[in-house]
Symmetry: C2
Subunit: 456 residues, 2 copies
């Protein structure tokens, strides 16, 4: 391992040059006029794999090609699947870039370019760590499979379709999935994101009278669908925010003491967070901290409300219709397909006389979590400590990353989200950047990760 680490340190300039080569390719997947560049980026990644001697394929899809590469099996050792993407967001608005988006430029210890952190700069750390092993030791201590896609910024249609094909599950079979496409908790605080929430998103449509009525002539005698909507939306939670749908919490994986301890250790100020959001006070489920509420507990939010007159001034209308878009964030092991019928029955039981309701199930995805007790988490933590000189913090994310859930479902593997970026990296904005020190720490951490996983 020492010679691998030395190689990483000695080749810092060469690695930065490699990164710059990739960043110069304007692989904007959302805009067809860049699609030649998208293909060129796929070829560049495939060439890098081939230059390391890995078995490499460019897999056509219904969209942009996938680049797949794998090292030889190592019996008795874990198999890792590394996922990343070689496409980038559009660079607009161009005028706001200090240096051109596809001319990578080093300033203040950062490299500035579209894709610097999302995801070329992070993804390539795992390729360069692998190269470091192969150039020194000559082989990897575990089997690594790489699957790098080119449509992450525009819907990932190609990879989703590919994952449904026969034989793919077996081809990609792995014990752990490694993805570096997230952020550290803060500068100098590398993080392992070990859980994501799922989602169940609905629209409730209520119909009262067959047409809008005059609220003077009819008000008080007929059920107002906007009032019914307020009643039904309000019925979904109690005042502390606890969801009232029967069985909703039955499958919730509780937060462990270890997790609560780890979360409590994070330098997170509720007062500073409230100030950042511009609110006088935070709120949420009784008995949980703000981070627990956002990351580890299910939640209910109304995403949109529509009814009656929304223009200027007053209109004395008793609306015929009212509707709400709303969603639950789910935690492991909640199943959106179990929640929908319970929700529908609950809402029907609350639907006032004189109102017809329709519940539209818009989309659902389960959450996923890797146990903090997982040996893979322990291995990643050790690797990060080697790479960054400080142990990682353990965080979760309140949103969903659909491809992670998809891999978890398909492969049954744990997932390690190892973010080398920072929250202020301007992903999806002008002047995207990546801290070069973190780039090198990421390569070193990744080199150690292969070693730590082999030691399990």
């Amino acid at each position: 391992m020492d010679q691998v680490a030395r190689f990483v340190l000695d080749n810092a300039n060469a690695f930065e040059d490699k990164l710059c080569e990739l960043l110069r390719i304007a692989s904007v997947s959302a805009d067809s006029k860049y699609h030649g560049e998208v293909r060129r980026a796929a070829d560049w990644v495939a060439d890098l794999f081939r230059s390391m001697g890995l078995a490499t394929e460019t897999i056509p899809t219904i969209g942009q090609p996938l680049v797949y590469a794998e090292s030889p099996p190592v019996p008795g050792k874990p198999v890792v699947l590394v996922y990343g993407h070689y496409d980038v967001q559009p660079p607009d608005p161009l005028a706001e870039w200090t240096s051109p988006p596809f001319e990578p430029t080093k300033r203040n210890g950062n490299i500035y370019a579209r894709g610097a952190t999302d995801d070329k700069g992070q993804m390539i750390t795992h390729l360069l760590s692998t190269m470091s092993w192969l150039k020194t030791v000559g082989q990897l201590p575990i089997q690594i499979k790489f699957l790098i896609e080119g449509e992450e910024e525009c819907g990932s249609e190609g990879i989703y379709d590919y994952l449904t094909k026969p034989g793919v599950k077996e081809k990609l079979a792995a014990d752990v999935v490694v993805i570096s496409d997230t952020s550290q908790f803060g500068p100098g605080r590398p993080a392992i994101t070990y859980g994501l929430r799922g989602i169940a998103y609905y629209e409730l449509k209520l119909q009262g009278p067959k047409q809008d009525l005059h609220s003077g002539t009819f008000g008080g005698g007929v059920t107002n669908p906007a009032k019914a909507l307020a009643f039904m939306m309000n019925a979904l939670t109690d005042e502390s925010g606890r969801v009232q749908v029967p069985g909703f919490y039955d499958d919730v994986l509780p937060v462990t003491e270890r997790e609560r301890d780890e979360l409590a250790k994070l330098p997170f100020s509720e007062a500073a967070f409230a100030k950042q959001l511009g609110v006088a006070a935070l709120s949420g489920e009784e008995g949980y901290t703000t981070l627990e509420r956002r990351w580890c507990r299910p939640s209910f939010d109304i995403n949109g409300l529509t009814s009656g007159y929304q223009g200027e001034g007053a209109k004395t209308v008793l609306p015929a219709k009212a509707s709400a878009k709303f969603s639950f964030r789910l935690v492991p092991n909640q199943d959106p397909t179990k929640i929908t019928p319970a929700l529908e029955a609950f809402l029907k039981s609350k639907c006032p006389a004189g109102i017809q309701m329709e519940l539209v199930d818009m989309h659902g995805a389960p959450g996923c979590v890797t146990s903090l007790e997982s040996p893979f988490v322990a291995a990643a933590a050790k690797a990060i400590e080697h790479g960054f000189g400080t142990p990682p913090v353990f965080i979760r994310e309140g949103g969903s990353i659909p491809i992670v859930t998809r891999f978890a479902q398909l492969l049954g593997a744990d997932t390690l989200l190892l973010g080398w970026g920072l929250d202020d990296d301007n992903t999806h904005s002008p002047n995207e950047k990546f801290c070069l020190a973190d780039f090198h720490r990421g390569i070193l951490a990744s080199s150690h990760l292969w070693n730590e996983l082999a030691s399990l």
Copy 2:
């Protein structure tokens, strides 16, 4: 009185001719290209008053002129103020009229023209009854003051401004205001509308975080203003629809036993009403019938809801803002200016932590009611029985007619809303009509009304 009644019967054709003269004038107040015709209608009405020998004035206003006329005082007898309007709604869409809107045409016992029932045909019944008295008896048994405006269909700015002028209150002083601009309860069922509801209309604006947030990353940890809105709107009433604002019902004038009896006698089918509205069931305040709920009891309605994402599909947004337009219908003696501060205090007490609220008071007007025990109501009922051959039913209206409330406030007089029209008269629509038999019955009833009021 017999000779007056005979005159009314003998002059049916002449009265219809008079009506047709007025209906031929295209006095559309909302459209400036018709404003010459609006002035011509004012002149026509003034000329009719002058032809009867009444003291007549055309009063300029900030808008269209008012036509005022009065007969001499009759000491010891009530003074009546008759209000009506000589302007009409626009006739569009013209193509849907069977006969042209300003060429009055008789078909099926009706006269078809814009303004036939709203309000030229109804208003003129009181002028023609007065003419009948003057042409036969030579004088009226009471003093009648007429105030006929020309902007009822476009906001009545002129008359509202006029009513604030010094001396106007004294000039218009009357014991009872008579208005025929409403409908019978049904064909052959003349009605006295003896009460109107008032209104208090608000907008509640809630602000949560200073900008829209990602509902995954933040959901569960910060108060969602759309949820707060559902909670606060729901808190305004209990499940039976009873308003929860402290003191809201304190000043409510209860429905009397006499009123309940009269309302119960009306041929009103809740099942047919529900079917007409297209709802499976009606709802409302416990202990009251649908007509009582709509006419005699205060009500609460949400008139509009706005928050977050309202387009197609799903957006995982935790909205920064949510707002509702809502209103209470008030009954006599509720005072909107007392309700606003109680409402604001109530909503503040319900406003969740992390939400800033703003309550906008959009407009308010009290309701008004004339006691069924009023001698003027009894006199009108007798007059209607003479004119229509059947006693009237006693109804109220759930909406507000602002000018009625204004007269009640200014003059402290009872109001008699004597509707000769029918609900299917197509007011504000193509093919507006007025039943000619009801036109003649209205003139006869009006003639008797002056006599009955004199007998009090």
